[in-house]
């Protein structure tokens, strides 16, 4: 699933792993000179597109958060006034049960965004943990963990998630878990590759000599030094998770009713598409816009933070 839609997917990651392996040295060096935050700020200053995306994204996030300011209850139905067109009262019209489409889209954003971000957090945690241990310890542990990664990447994940959801009711928690379960492998690969180069570096070797525990070395010295790569992977992973969630909701495995995400709004709308295309247009546009901004941001970050691409 993640493989289907995540832009920086396995192929790209794998390809870049290979390509980068050669030139990793100088990149790591460069990234030590500035703090992560400074890098972010300066890269944004240079890129107007990134600023625009950030503004759009923040607008969507903030309006979702402040959705309660809307005069309408997203679940309040008005069956006598269903499928109304856009008007002064209902900016984007009403849906099949007479609920305000705009308000529902904002509340739907809450669901989509929180599922996306939570799945990202979970997958980044799992991925970082497994990737860094795998790269740091090496040997058999590495071989085993990488096979685990292989397995997860070889399972037709969409099929497994659907099979899973045909037995377990889908809700926010199970959605997040399932999405994270099949998307941490990308992060793990990146982190492992970074760890492999980082662990040879002087300060890690020095820490080892000083007798610092392995866990501490990973947590204090290795992970913080690849924060930039993790942030990039994270932003792309949110984008992927939002897309995946929408696809699952569209297939009918979404969050609990009456809540709806953008994906489940689309699923609803499909039935009435000939009579009210607006119902499908709005949530779809929200998904596209959000994912687009996240992808561009992720890419801009990656380019800004990667001296190899920065020439």
């Amino acid at each position: 699933m993640a493989k289907l839609l995540t832009p920086l997917d396995k192929a790209a990651i794998r390809a870049e792993d290979f390509a980068k392996a050669v030139k990793d040295e100088n990149k790591v060096e460069a990234s030590f000179e500035r703090t992560v935050f400074q890098q972010l700020v300066s890269s944004f200053r240079q890129n107007k597109l990134a600023i625009l995306c950030l503004i759009v994204l923040l607008t969507i996030i903030l309006s979702s958060i402040f959705a309660f300011l809307s005069p309408y209850d997203p679940d309040e139905m008005d069956v006598m006034n269903k499928m109304a067109g856009p008007s002064a009262e209902h900016w984007f019209g009403t849906d099949e049960l007479g609920r305000d489409s705009f308000t529902r889209a904002l509340y739907g954003g809450r669901v989509s965004l929180s599922v996306g971000f939570s799945a990202m957090v979970v997958s980044v945690i799992i991925g970082t943990l497994i990737g860094s241990v795998s790269g740091y310890v090496g040997g058999k542990v590495d071989a085993v963990l990488m096979r685990v990664v292989d397995i997860f990447q070889s399972v037709p994940s969409l099929l497994m998630i659907i099979v899973f959801f045909s037995f377990v009711p889908s809700n926010m928690v199970t959605l997040i878990i399932m999405l994270a379960l099949f998307s941490w492998t990308g992060v793990a690969r990146i982190v492992r590759a970074q760890t492999l180069t980082l662990k040879e570096r002087d300060f890690v070797v020095a820490a080892k000599v000083l007798g610092v525990s392995h866990a501490k070395i990973i947590m204090r010295h290795i992970v913080p030094n690849m924060a930039t790569q993790i942030i990039v992977a994270a932003s792309l992973s949110v984008a992927g998770a939002i897309l995946d969630e929408s696809a699952l909701s569209f297939l009918g495995y979404g969050v609990a009713l009456p809540k709806s995400s953008w994906g489940s709004m689309l699923q609803n709308a499909q039935q009435y598409i000939l009579y009210d295309p607006l119902l499908a247009l709005i949530p779809g546009a929200f998904i596209l816009l959000t994912v687009l901004c996240l992808n561009i941001l992720g890419d801009v970050l990656q380019h800004a933070l990667d001296p190899r691409l920065h020439k």
């Binding site: 679940d75 139905m77 069956v79 049960l97 045909s166 009918g252 009713l257 499909q270 039935q271 009435y272």
Partner: protein, 537 residues
């Protein structure tokens, strides 16, 4: 060098795998020539319009496809729809008349324990063999072998006991019942017979090739079947009621309802089931189409799970039922003209339906009072519904909203059919409600009996008194007495708050204006008698 060679071979191998797939179905360059070059070659799909001399074809869409051409194995909606023209039942007992198909007549003995069916003489299977009592006996043998999982088990089994059946002569079969049943003749009529000679007398029909031969008894015989694409049947000239008028009937698989509508607009299909009132309004006002509408014979209801401990407090159901407005559900979920409010558990085309019976009424004040009194606002409840059935999702959300208005939190969860039936026909106690429906045309003893007296294990509350009444009604043959018993059952079911009947949906479909005779028989599933249909240019 060597590496290059290997890589080349691998590349070719990959390309080859793709091309094999392509060429094997002649669709290689599907998209390479894709750019929709809006010139004259891109006319819309061929329409069914044709000069008068050309053969007529009726195209009916189906959302999913059958996988066998054996009606005993295809028990779902698509099976009934698609195999209807190919196989006939014995007879159909409708509310006001009985229409005979394979059977010429049936007779019930005085004590109601014996039914004798006489088949028409001279009927032929599509391959020319005669249809005889042996075929009927064979069919019943097949159903009696439960490993087949064949349809019509309620004809061969009565209360889990196999009925006795024997051949009297080549056209007559006598059935002996283990116990009297007033509805048995109604059930028996629905028996669709399969040809013994095609199955070579083998009653184990699982996975046998004969299932795909489609040799039937109906007005249309198999012409072409491409799974998940279409089924085409052509008129059978030796049909015992005379050859039908339309030359071919085509069932086209179009899973998406919007896509079906587009297909109708493009002239690819002639028929479309409608499930939203806007569509009905649109087609009704268009002279190119004809909308037909009649009671579907279903009862959709909200059921209270008999195993759920929440209902130990009777105020719960009282409050919930008082909070619900079925009128609002019908306006919101079904839409105008798509259903009528239900008053009881018998449907509006069920025999012994009592139209004067009063159903549950909304009383928000009473509901609120009960909620406060019983502390129901602190008790979240759960409702399951079947995500594959129309109207259910909307109904669930409206009920959720109506309960919210009186302070009750209802969690609604969709489950696809498989899981849904397992849940609501099981004994789980972890949920309060579910939405369901049953088809009930004719004798209430067929379906409503099983739903409400506990024999089907549908999770609905039963009481000894109700069970006794159902049993009595089953063995009573006097219509007036039965009417009285069913009135009592309805009242008692309401008092016990077993379920909340919500709607009697209408069956609504639209056809292109050239299709005639679609309303000759207003009974579901469509079309019972294809000889009634014609296409008039």
């Amino acid at each position: 060098m060597n590496k290059r060679l290997v890589s080349l071979v691998l590349c070719l191998a990959m390309m080859a795998t793709m091309l094999v797939g392509c060429s094997s179905n002649e669709e290689a360059t599907t998209a390479t020539t894709a750019a929709p070059a809006g010139n004259n070659t891109t006319t819309a799909a061929p329409s069914t319009e044709a000069p008068a001399a050309e053969p007529t074809n009726l195209v009916i869409p189906s959302a999913s496809c059958i996988s066998n051409l054996n009606p005993l194995l295809e028990t779902m909606k698509e099976g009934v729809l698609m195999l209807n023209p190919m196989y006939d039942p014995l007879y159909v007992i409708d509310v006001n008349e009985t229409r005979y198909y394979l059977a010429e007549s049936y007779e019930v003995s005085g004590d109601g324990m014996e039914v004798t069916v006489k088949l028409r003489d001279g009927m032929k299977w599509h391959d020319g063999e005669a249809i005889t009592a042996d075929d009927m006996i064979f069919t019943m043998d097949v159903i009696a072998d439960t490993n087949n999982g064949a349809a019509g088990a309620n004809i061969v089994f009565l209360n889990d006991t196999v009925v006795g059946y024997e051949k009297v002569d080549d056209l007559t079969v006598k059935i002996t019942l283990p116990s009297a049943s007033a509805s048995y003749t109604d059930l028996l009529g629905a028996l669709t017979i399969i040809p013994e000679h095609v199955f070579e007398g083998n009653t184990n029909i699982v996975g046998v090739e004969a299932n795909m031969k489609g040799v039937g008894s109906g007005a249309y015989k198999l012409k072409e079947f491409a799974q998940d694409q279409h089924l085409v049947v052509e008129k059978f000239d030796d049909y015992f009621l005379g050859a039908p008028s339309i030359d071919t009937i085509t069932f086209k698989i179009i899973s998406d309802l919007s896509a079906q509508e587009i297909a109708l607009a493009n002239g690819e299909i002639n028929f479309l089931e409608l499930a939203n009132s806007m569509a009905v309004a649109k087609y009704s006002s268009d002279s190119n189409y004809k909308v037909v509408q009649y009671p579907e014979g279903r009862v959709n209801f909200l059921a209270a799970n008999a195993f759920c401990p929440t209902f130990e407090d009777p105020r719960v159901l009282e409050a919930v039922y008082a909070a619900i407005s079925k009128e609002e559900i019908i306006a919101g979920a079904y839409g105008e003209g798509m259903a009528v409010p239900a008053n009881g558990i018998l449907g509006n085309v069920t025999t012994f339906y009592n139209k004067d019976f009063k159903g549950y009424e909304q009383d928000i004040e009473k509901a609120k009072a009960l909620v406060a009194e019983a502390g129901l606002d602190k008790k979240p409840m759960k409702l399951y519904f079947n995500s594959e059935r129309v109207y259910m999702k909307e109904t669930a959300q409206i009920i959720q909203q109506q309960l919210k208005n009186v302070g009750i939190t209802l969690e609604v969860t969709p489950i696809e059919s498989a899981g849904f039936f397992e849940k609501v026909f099981g004994t789980d106690s972890d949920y309060e409600f579910y939405l369901n429906g049953y088809a009930q045309i004719g004798d209430p003893d067929k379906t409503v009996y099983g739903m409400f007296n506990g024999t089907w294990g549908c999770n609905l509350k039963t009481t000894d008194e109700l069970t006794a009444l159902w049993t009595e009604a089953r063995s009573t043959f006097d219509p007036a007495k039965r009417q009285e018993l069913y009135n009592k059952i309805e009242q008692l079911t309401k008092d016990e708050m077993v379920a909340y009947p919500i709607a009697y949906p209408n069956y609504v479909f639209v056809t292109t204006a050239d299709v005639e005779g679609t309303d000759a028989i207003t009974r579901t599933p469509v079309f019972e008698d294809f000889t009634q249909l014609s296409i008039v240019k």
